[in-house]
C-alpha cells in the first residue's frame, strides 16, 4: 500500500486531568474521505488543532506526505499542503468574497511582500481565486462583502479559500454545522467532487452527510479511537453503537 497522505501516530494531548487525545493513530489516504465522528467532548476539535498546528501534542507524531510536521507552525503546515475549513467561519468579514479568495491564492503564492501593485489586478492570483469560487458556485457573489453572505455561502467560501491553496489534504471541521437541508445537500455534492483532487479528513456531526460521503470512518470517544473502518463496518460495530449512537439518541 502506498504511504498515506496524512497520518497521526500515537498522538496524545492532556489538559490537566483530562486526556483530550489518547494515543490517536489515524491516516488519510489518497482519494478518500475519512470522517471522524464522536460525541461532544470526544476530542475532535483538539485533534484538528493538533493536526493543523495550533496545538502541540504532548507525544506522538504527525506526518504529511511522509514528512514529519509535528514541530511546524500552522502557516508552515499550510504551505506544506494542508487546506483547512473552520467550524465557525474564519473569514475577513470586512472584505469581499473575491478578496477572501485572493488571500488564499496569495498565501499559496507565498509572496505577500508586494507594496505597490494592486493585488486584485494580479492576473495569476485573480484567476486562481475565481476558479475556486466558480468551483464552489460563488461566481455571482464575487463583489459582495463577506458579511452579506448567508451561512451556507460562507461555508462555500471557506471551501473555496481552501481550494485556492491547491492543498494535498483537506481538513474540514464540521462544514455542515448549521446548514439547512438544501445547503447540506449542495455542500455534500461539492465535497463529493473534491476527493479526487485531494483527500478530505472530515470531522462532522451530520450523520447523513457522513454516511453519504465517507469512505472510511473513525470513531472518537473520550480522546480514543474506538473503531476505524468502512461505513458498513462502523454501522455494524456494537461498541460504536453503544458508546456513540446510544448516547446520541
Amino acid at each position: 500500500m502506498t504511504e498515506p497522505v496524512l497520518e497521526t501516530r500515537n498522538l496524545s494531548k492532556r489538559f490537566g486531568a483530562l486526556t483530550a487525545s489518547d494515543d490517536i493513530s489515524i491516516d488519510l489516504r489518497a482519494g478518500e474521505i475519512h470522517a471522524v465522528i464522536g460525541p461532544n467532548g470526544a476530542g475532535k476539535t483538539t485533534l484538528i488543532h493538533q493536526i493543523c498546528g495550533e496545538l502541540r501534542p504532548d507525544a506522538g507524531e504527525i506526518r504529511l506526505l511522509g514528512q514529519d510536521v509535528t514541530r511546524l507552525g500552522t502557516a508552515a503546515r499550510a504551505r506544506a499542503g494542508l487546506g483547512r475549513t473552520f467550524q465557525v467561519s474564519a473569514l475577513a468579514m470586512e472584505d469581499t468574497v473575491l478578496q477572501n479568495a485572493v488571500l488564499g491564492a496569495l498565501g499559496a503564492s507565498g509572496r505577500p511582500w508586494g507594496f505597490w501593485r494592486p493585488v486584485l489586478n494580479d492576473r495569476a492570483l485573480r484567476t486562481r481565486a475565481q476558479e475556486a469560487l466558480h468551483r464552489v458556485g460563488l461566481d455571482e457573489m464575487m463583489a459582495a462583502p463577506c458579511a452579506a453572505l448567508s451561512h451556507g455561502q460562507r461555508r462555500q467560501l471557506e471551501v473555496a479559500v481552501a481550494l485556492t491553496l491547491q492543498p494535498r489534504a483537506f481538513i474540514m471541521d464540521e462544514p455542515m454545522a448549521g446548514l439547512g437541508t438544501e445547503g447540506s445537500k449542495r455542500l455534500t455534492g461539492l465535497l463529493d467532487g473534491l476527493r479526487a483532487q485531494a483527500p478530505i479528513l472530515l470531522v462532522e456531526h451530520d450523520m447523513d452527510a457522513v454516511f453519504a460521503l465517507a469512505d472510511r470512518i473513525s470513531v472518537l470517544v473520550y480522546g480514543r479511537v474506538i473503531a476505524t473502518g468502512r461505513v458498513d463496518e462502523i454501522r455494524a460495530n456494537p461498541e460504536v453503537r453503544q458508546a456513540y449512537l446510544g448516547e446520541d439518541a
Binding site: 474564519a90 488571500l103 493585488v119
Partner: protein
C-alpha cells in the same frame, strides 16, 4: 451620508485653499497652524498603518516621532557647530539638508521600530499597548538624561534646515513641502492598502487564524506594518522638529503617543484620510477653543467623549457611514 471621497476631496481642497488665503491675507500664523496640522497628520497617518490596517494599538509611537526629531536635532546641531558626530567606529559630519535628514530619520526609526516590534509582537491586546508604552518611556527617560543634547531642556536649532531650491523659512514654502510629503505618503498608503501586503495585513488584523491557515505568518506582516508605521511617524518627527526648530524629550512623552492616537480615532481609524481629518479638527479645536476660555481642555474632552460615544468610526464614520479602506 456623504461619499468618503467627497470628504477627502474637501479636506485636500481645504488644505490648499486655507493657507493660500492666509498667504494673500498676510496671516502667516494660519499657515504655521496648517503646517502643524499637516505634520501631525503625517504622524497619525504613520500610526494608522499599524493601528488602522494592522490592528496594532501602539501607545509608544512617540518613540519614533522623537527619534525623527532627534535625528534632525543632532544632525543640524553638528552642522551648525561644525563638530563631527562621533559614532564610535567612525564619525560623520552634521547636515542641514532636509532630504538627508529625512532619510536618516526614516531609516533609524524603521530600525528601532523593527526591534521594538519584534519584541512587542510577542504580546497582544492590552499587553501590547503597555509594552509599546514601556519602550516609549525608555526613550523618554533616555532623552531626559542625554546631557550632550540638552537633556530635559531639549535643544534649539536656530535656522530651519534647507531644501534645495526652497527658502524653508518662508512659512508657505515649508508648508508646501510638508503638504507634498503628506500627499506622497498618502498616495503610497493608498497603494499599500490595495497591494498584496495590504490585503494580507488587513486580513491579519481581522482573522489572524485565517492568514496562518493560508500559509502566511501574521506576525511578520504586522511587524512589517509596524516598521513602515514607525518610519512614517519618524519622518513626521523630523518635520515637526524643523517646524519648531526645537527638539525636546516631550516628543517622546506618552501623552504625545496618546495624542497621535486621538488624532487617528477622531478622524476615523483605518480610513485613508481619517488621520488627516483628525489632525485638522484637533488643531482647529485647540486653536479656537483656546480663544474662548482658559479651561478649553474641558470642552475638548467633552467633544472627544461625544465622538467616541456617538460617532463610532470617528468623524469620517459619522459623515460617511461604516466602510472599510477598500472602496
Amino acid at each position: 451620508m456623504i461619499a468618503e471621497r467627497h470628504v477627502n476631496l474637501a479636506l485636500v481642497l481645504g488644505l490648499i485653499v486655507v493657507p493660500s488665503w492666509a498667504l494673500a491675507a498676510d496671516e502667516p500664523f494660519t499657515i504655521t497652524l496648517a503646517t502643524r496640522a499637516v505634520i501631525l497628520a503625517l504622524a497619525a497617518v504613520g500610526l494608522n498603518i499599524a493601528l488602522g490596517i494592522g490592528g496594532l494599538v501602539s501607545l509608544g509611537h512617540a518613540a519614533f516621532f522623537g527619534i525623527g526629531g532627534y535625528v534632525m536635532g543632532i544632525l543640524a546641531y553638528h552642522a551648525q557647530t561644525f563638530t563631527p558626530l562621533d559614532l564610535g567606529a567612525f564619525s560623520i559630519a552634521g547636515t542641514k539638508a532636509m532630504p538627508v535628514i529625512w532619510l536618516a530619520a526614516i531609516v533609524l526609526s524603521a530600525f528601532v521600530a523593527a526591534v521594538i516590534g519584534a519584541l512587542s509582537l510577542r504580546t497582544s491586546g492590552v499587553y501590547f499597548i503597555m509594552i509599546t508604552l514601556a519602550f516609549g518611556q525608555m526613550f523618554y527617560y533616555f532623552a531626559v538624561s542625554w546631557r550632550s543634547y540638552g537633556g530635559a531642556d531639549g535643544m534649539s536649532i536656530y535656522v530651519r534646515n534647507s531644501f534645495p531650491g526652497l527658502d524653508t523659512l518662508v512659512p508657505i514654502q515649508f508648508f508646501a513641502l510638508c503638504l507634498v510629503l503628506l500627499g506622497l505618503v498618502l498616495y503610497l498608503n493608498a497603494r499599500l492598502v490595495r497591494s498584496r501586503f495590504g490585503l494580507a495585513l488587513d486580513a491579519a488584523r481581522q482573522v489572524p487564524l485565517r492568514v496562518r491557515t493560508v500559509g502566511l505568518d501574521p506576525l511578520r506582516l504586522k511587524l512589517a506594518a509596524f516598521v513602515l508605521s514607525g518610519a512614517v511617524t519618524g519622518l513626521a518627527g523630523a518635520l515637526y522638529a524643523d517646524l519648531n526648530r526645537f527638539v525636546s524629550p516631550a516628543m517622546f512623552s506618552w501623552q504625545f503617543s496618546g495624542e497621535i492616537m486621538v488624532l487617528v480615532i477622531l478622524g476615523g481609524t483605518g480610513r485613508l484620510f481619517g488621520p488627516v481629518l483628525g489632525a485638522v479638527v484637533f488643531v482647529a479645536l485647540e486653536h479656537f477653543l483656546g480663544g474662548l476660555t482658559d479651561f478649553w481642555q474641558i470642552y475638548l474632552g467633552i467633544i472627544l467623549l461625544l465622538i467616541v460615544l456617538f460617532a463610532r468610526g470617528g468623524i469620517i464614520g459619522l459623515l460617511c457611514g461604516k466602510r472599510g479602506l477598500h472602496d
